[in-house]
């Protein structure tokens, strides 16, 4: 099932299937320079904060996500799988590439429906 993910920093939205990680689907936006990192929960570069929505997770390294992070929804996008539409903020090293260009509201990508 497809869910819509909103990047609050930019207003950008993208589609993400329930069996697909937030990072894998974000990478399909084709934004240049997204540091996808290890994609295995070990390196921490793709850290996001889930602001709202339901999701499941797979194991990720405590070096980058401690109990306080987990309680606050600060997680690694490569290990988070949406169970509903959700909103996130970019907090890790991803921030530079995702939010580096200020885009006018009119250019916000419409949600993908398939």
């Amino acid at each position: 099932m497809q869910h819509t993910v909103t990047i609050e920093d930019t207003g950008e939205r993208y589609a993400c299937a329930g069996e697909e990680s937030l990072l894998a689907a974000m990478a399909r936006l084709g934004r240049r320079g997204i540091p996808a990192g290890c994609r295995g929960g070990g390196c921490g570069v793709c850290k996001v904060e889930i602001v709202s929505g339901e999701f499941g997770t797979r194991a990720m390294s405590r070096d980058h996500v401690d109990d306080a992070d987990r309680a606050a929804g600060r997680l690694l996008a490569c290990r988070v799988y949406p169970a509903s539409d959700l909103s996130l903020k970019v907090v890790g090293k991803l921030q530079k590439s995702v939010c580096g260009v200020v885009r006018p509201v009119s250019s916000v990508t419409p949600p993908v429906t398939r």
Partner: protein, 309 residues
């Protein structure tokens, strides 16, 4: 060349987030040979052509990264000599009893100023490579499983105090500096490649603020074509690839960097030049680091500098 001290990196112990998923990856995709499991839950692997019981050990943990890297030394006399040298240099050592790791003798453990735990050992059971020692065939069927590297070749570790680490390896452990990359101001080394024999490197370090980080463990392939085949197998299994296939300027080795299921980077590596201890060190200026990393593309990939476990 007579090698009478440290012989080679003989084992790495790496932390994984999901043990069985990682066992499937290392056994079936990378194509290592599983040789044992112990009471701590660790799983032991070797590459098909290695003779010793294991070279790569994984254990489940809530964080990725490397526990320690162990070097095989020639014999117990050299183990004692090298430990005495470390102590005289001012480095604390401890002895890990024989058998704590399967089929392995006593180990001398110490911590580098980069935060990495190193070990030296002189004994590990030789289980062979599946080929007879008399009239041996050139390879066995174990090679034809997954990527199938020949051996654990080297590791690149990220941490602080690389200048101090270099002194320990060259002044105490008998290594020599093969290549280096200078810092942007040219006054220090940003990264160093060290050899204890005639391999282009047995271990490498890069300066990094966080201690004890793993950049990659490297596995040796027999040819450039085998590196390309490794890339095919990675893609067939949707293994996340970082860089390559390409050729490093530093070492001249052919490479693919990719990540295991827990975000520990590994390398499939082939080639490299063959240095001797009397050769002069080769130096790369920081503005040529891109060529050093990826010679054809001349590109200093950002992930090389920022993504570690």
């Amino acid at each position: 060349m007579a090698m009478t001290g440290v012989l080679r990196p003989g084992h790495a112990q790496v932390r994984v987030l999901d043990l069985e998923e990682s066992v499937r990856f290392y056994r079936d995709v990378l194509g290592l040979v599983e040789t044992g499991r112990d009471a701590q839950g660790r799983v032991y692997f070797k590459c098909w052509d290695e003779r010793d019981h294991h070279s790569y050990v994984i254990r489940e943990s809530d964080r990725a990264g490397i526990d320690f890297l162990g070097f095989r030394v020639l014999d117990k006399a050299n183990l004692d000599r090298l430990e005495a040298g470390l102590k005289a240099y001012g480095i604390a050592t401890e002895r890990i009893p024989a058998g704590e790791m399967l089929e392995t003798g006593e180990r001398v453990r110490f911590t580098l100023p980069s935060g990495h735990v190193m070990e030296l050992y002189a004994e590990k059971t030789k289980v062979g490579n599946g080929i007879p020692l008399v009239n041996p065939a050139p390879w066995s069927l174990q090679r034809e499983h997954g990527i199938g590297p020949v051996r654990l070749d080297h590791a690149l570790l990220y941490g602080p105090n690389v200048a101090e680490v270099q002194k320990i390896f060259t002044e105490v452990l008998g290594f020599y500096l093969v290549e280096r990359v200078l810092t942007p101001d040219g006054n220090a080394n940003a990264a160093i490649w060290l050899s204890c024999g005639q391999k282009v490197h047995d271990i490498a370090f890069a300066e990094y603020p966080e201690p004890g980080k793993l950049h990659h463990c490297s596995f040796l392939m027999e040819s450039w074509e085998q590196v390309l085949r490794a890339g095919d197998i990675m893609s067939m299994n949707t293994v996340p690839v970082d860089i390559g296939p390409t050729r490093h300027g530093v070492t001249r080795g052919c490479t693919i960097y990719a990540w295991d299921p827990s975000g520990n980077r590994f390398e499939t590596f082939f080639g490299g030049h063959l240095p001797y201890p009397d050769y002069e060190t080769m130096t790369w200026t920081f503005d040529n680091f891109g060529q050093g990393l990826d010679y054809p593309q001349r590109k200093l990939h950002e992930t090389f500098l920022t993504v570690v476990s």
